[in-house]
């Protein structure tokens, strides 16, 4: 089962960082060691406001299909809808990452048949 093909109503993206270890001496001088050449830990939060319960259920089904936060998956272009820059910039695949669920989808029912879903994803190598 693929990630639901829906365009979010709000999106927040944190571009993550390269694996860097920082050593700080008592003098305050800092030594940084780069342990990898791939940026990782990018975080993507998608909000789908006021969608039908049937669509909200797609996220719950997908989360279950992915065994919760265990399995990684590709994100379709709908999740990046409205972004007019290069899609790779808010993606994870370009850096060898794939998204997995960082937390369970949060479903808030706003009226009968209508819910708001918030999905938190994290890019992992």
């Amino acid at each position: 089962m693929a990630f639901p093909v829906l365009t979010p109503s709000a999106r927040a993206f944190d571009s993550g960082d390269y694996p860097v270890k920082v050593y700080k001496a008592q003098s305050g001088s800092e030594t940084r060691i780069l342990y990898g050449d791939k940026r990782t830990n990018m975080k993507l939060q998608l909000t789908y406001a006021n969608i039908s319960d049937a669509n909200a259920e797609l996220f719950l089904d997908h989360y279950d299909e992915m065994k919760g936060s265990f399995t990684t998956f590709d994100l379709n272009s709908s999740a990046k809808g409205g972004w007019e820059g290069n899609a790779d910039a808010i993606g994870a695949q370009d850096h060898g990452n794939n998204y997995r669920y960082e937390a369970p989808p949060q479903v808030t029912q706003v009226r009968p048949g209508i819910s708001t879903v918030t999905v938190s994803l994290i890019g992992v190598l």
Binding site: L6, T7, S9, A49, N50, G81, G82, V110, R111, I114
Partner: protein, 145 residues
């Protein structure tokens, strides 16, 4: 026959009994809208949410020949002694009518009185002003035809 309704045609009832000395009333219906606009859309879109009813009325503070005061059963829902406050049974059945002879155009609803004020001023008639908040569905809405 065509007709323009005026204040003379307005009737306000409490529990199906017409209230005396009503100066004005107003009933408002609101729809909560849920925004369904998504990223990339250029125009906002909405889905209907829940509706609600509210309004207000002004009555002269009036005592009839039987010493009954017209606003008693409205004001008593909010202005009361004791420390219990307002309970879920403190609702009123209000009917707002635009009458044309025997042809009645009604809005009937159950409501809580959410504000009540009663004043007196030199050289003026004492008035009671109330606001209400409807609860549940309106039971009659014969205003369309």
């Amino acid at each position: 026959m065509s007709k323009v309704y005026t204040g003379r045609d307005g009737v306000m009832q409490l529990a199906d009994v017409t209230l005396a000395k009503v100066v004005s009333f107003s009933v408002q219906s609101d729809l909560e809208t849920l925004e369904t606009t998504t990223l990339g859309d250029g125009v906002r879109s909405y889905s209907p949410g829940v509706t609600g009813y509210s309004g207000n009325a002004t009555l002269l503070y009036y005592k009839d020949d039987d010493d009954d005061i017209n606003t008693t059963d409205l004001l008593n829902k909010l202005i009361k002694t004791g420390s219990d406050g307002v309970s879920s049974s403190d609702t009123v059945e209000l009917t707002f009518r635009w009458a044309d002879g025997t042809d009645n155009n009604d809005i009937k609803l159950t409501a809580y009185i959410t504000s009540a004020s009663l004043g007196a001023a030199t050289g003026d008639i004492a008035r009671a002003e109330i606001s209400f908040q409807g609860t549940g569905a309106i039971t009659t809405a014969s205003i369309g035809s």
